[in-house]
Amino acid sequence: MKSDKIIEDILFEIEKHEGGMSRRNAMKLLAASPIAASVLASAATATEAHASSSNATGKIVIVGGGLAGVATAAKLTQRLANPDITLIEPNPKSVSYQPGQTLIAAGVWQKSDIEYETANFIPKGVKWIKDSVVSFDPTNNKVKTADGTEISYDYLVVAMGLILNFGAIKGLEGEITSSGANDVVRKKVGKDGVYSVYFADGAVDTKKGIEELIAKAKAHKGSEKLQAIFTDPDTAIKCGGAPKKIMYITHDLLTKAGVRDKVELTFCPSGDKMFGVPEYNTAIFEQFKVRDFKWEFKTNLVAIDTEKKVATFEKKWLEKGEYDEDLKEYTMISMSKNVEKKYDFIHITPPQKAPDFVGKSPIGSSKGWVPVVKETLQHVTYKNVFALGDVAAVPMGKTGGSARKQYNVVAENLIAVMEKQEKLPAAYDGYTVCPLITSIGTVALLEFNWTAKPAPSFPLDPTQERWIWWLLKVYALKPMTIYGMLSGRA
């Protein structure tokens, strides 16, 4: 039973990290909170309906073996009586647990805590090709891998993830993934005050970077504060909360070291709000004010001089133009200028894009992301193609939490297509969860969907920072993902 494995893992982790006191507190909290009751009530009705297996046949090729691809493979293996599934993924550690990267920077986890071998999670019977796809030919139902092999399919699932495009920032180089080779990027990132938790080695470096910042702050004299800047680019990004989480973590570590007053922390995002959900937006503004964080909106990092420690941002604003009779409003003119900022520490959230191999292929789009009907996740042009995870063109949802919802939708709808059903039965509603780490020990569990309204799973005010969600983040979500989601069960 997989659930045994999950419980075992949670117990092991709690034993390893939490003192007896914390456990007692956790118990008290659980007993006192309405969660326990509500959770048990939901559990009673949550007996999983065992879907009967389908006799549909056909060759399924899944491109990409991250969480989304492997979970889809597992679900299809369960649901099909005679599965014929090929998974194409070059990275032997593709299922590593990316949500743990912020915890590595926080010093709570080691890199080894998030590394997982893909080989251990490929479902039985699935053929694994350890190569990457370099071209798509959806008209003839074929893909080609780097070594030149052509692979045909009846049905295709694209789950290639995304590329961290550090090279799009002038002064930096490299396009990488979170757990692949990253030497080029690390020439400039991960040292001298420039950090990024967006890749695993970068997260390890970020922890050292925060320690260096603390040491520098301790030695700092004079009234001018040290400057720590946190960026958020103008492309879609995975884990929209991470640019802020690392800021909260830095704040917490500086505070604990007694040097918070020596450092100014400034959030510089490309956009002009903290969150698309008004309730969460307000809550985060409050959290920022309490912590004396600064922010500058519509301030997008475009270049960095790592020698001089100066970052250049494109600052945008609207200026009032002429009165428009048709619109019955003043027209607005989009303005921009570059501004330079000195930094002692900068956390970079890199611009992100779909891998060019897919983005510029016939199944890509002008922006690269694979265009799908956002509810069914079926490709808009090729009906035997589905996409999910970071590579899919859906609003907001580039998180593990989204993928956890999407893989079930893809599996059900793909089987419907294989069975020649007219209607696709499953629909994704844009659900995303952002466990926003607000300190080492508290998390606000921000759940939402495309209605841009809070969608809490629990009858608790989701805008509050809670220790119970910290426990969930640190002890439960990983075993749940690794042993639940990757086996297609949760």
């Binding site: 659930s3 419980i7 949670i10 117990l11 709690i14 034993e15 456990r23 007692r24 956790a26 118990m27 659980l30 969660i35 509500s38 959770v39 939901s42 559990a43 009705t45 949550a46 958020d232 680019p233 103008d234 879609a236 990004i237 929209g240 909360g241 802020k244 959030f267 995002p269 490309s270 956009g271 002009d272 709000k273 945008k316 609207l318 428009d324 048709d326 619109l327 409003e329 027209t331 607005m332 002008s366 265009p371 956002k374 808009v380 063109a393 609003p395 907001m396 956890r404 919802k405 969860v433 952002c434 969907n449 209605t451 799973s457 969930l472 439960a476 979500l477 749940m480 989601m485 949760a490």
Partner: protein, 123 residues
């Protein structure tokens, strides 16, 4: 054992998180005008009677985009970006849309995307 109960509670919490707990569907928004009315009374001034776009108003043509592209753009415009703090790609239109919504010219994104595509799309 107490710690088992803690672990169990967390596991059960995850069952809920993973979606077995059905949440009520969100309320269906009511809009004052149909997409066609909104278009005819507002969008048309800048995007043209055939969705061809008007250069002097810096309004792009709407004739080339798939439903999915239109939906993404409308989401970006109404939500002010597609992420938490990510910039919108339509900063002027985001401003205009806020003004239009204040005047009652709001719409369902999917319905408007379908209307635009069905009415103006040119192969």
């Amino acid at each position: 054992m107490k710690k088992i109960s803690l672990a169990l509670s967390l596991v059960v919490a995850l069952v809920v998180l993973s979606g077995c707990g059905d949440k009520p569907k969100s309320d269906i928004m009511k809009y004052k005008y149909t997409p066609a009315q909104v278009y005819a009374e507002t969008c048309l001034h800048c995007h043209g009677p055939k969705g061809e776009g008007v250069a002097e108003k810096k309004a792009p043509a709407l004739t080339k985009q798939s439903v999915q592209e239109l939906e993404m753009s409308l989401f970006d415009i109404k939500n002010g970006g597609l992420g938490q703090s990510t910039a919108t790609e339509h900063d002027v239109m985001e401003h205009n849309m806020k003004k239009l919504a204040e005047k009652g010219y709001d719409y369902d994104i999917k319905m408007m995307a379908n209307y635009l595509h069905n009415t103006f799309y040119v192969k």
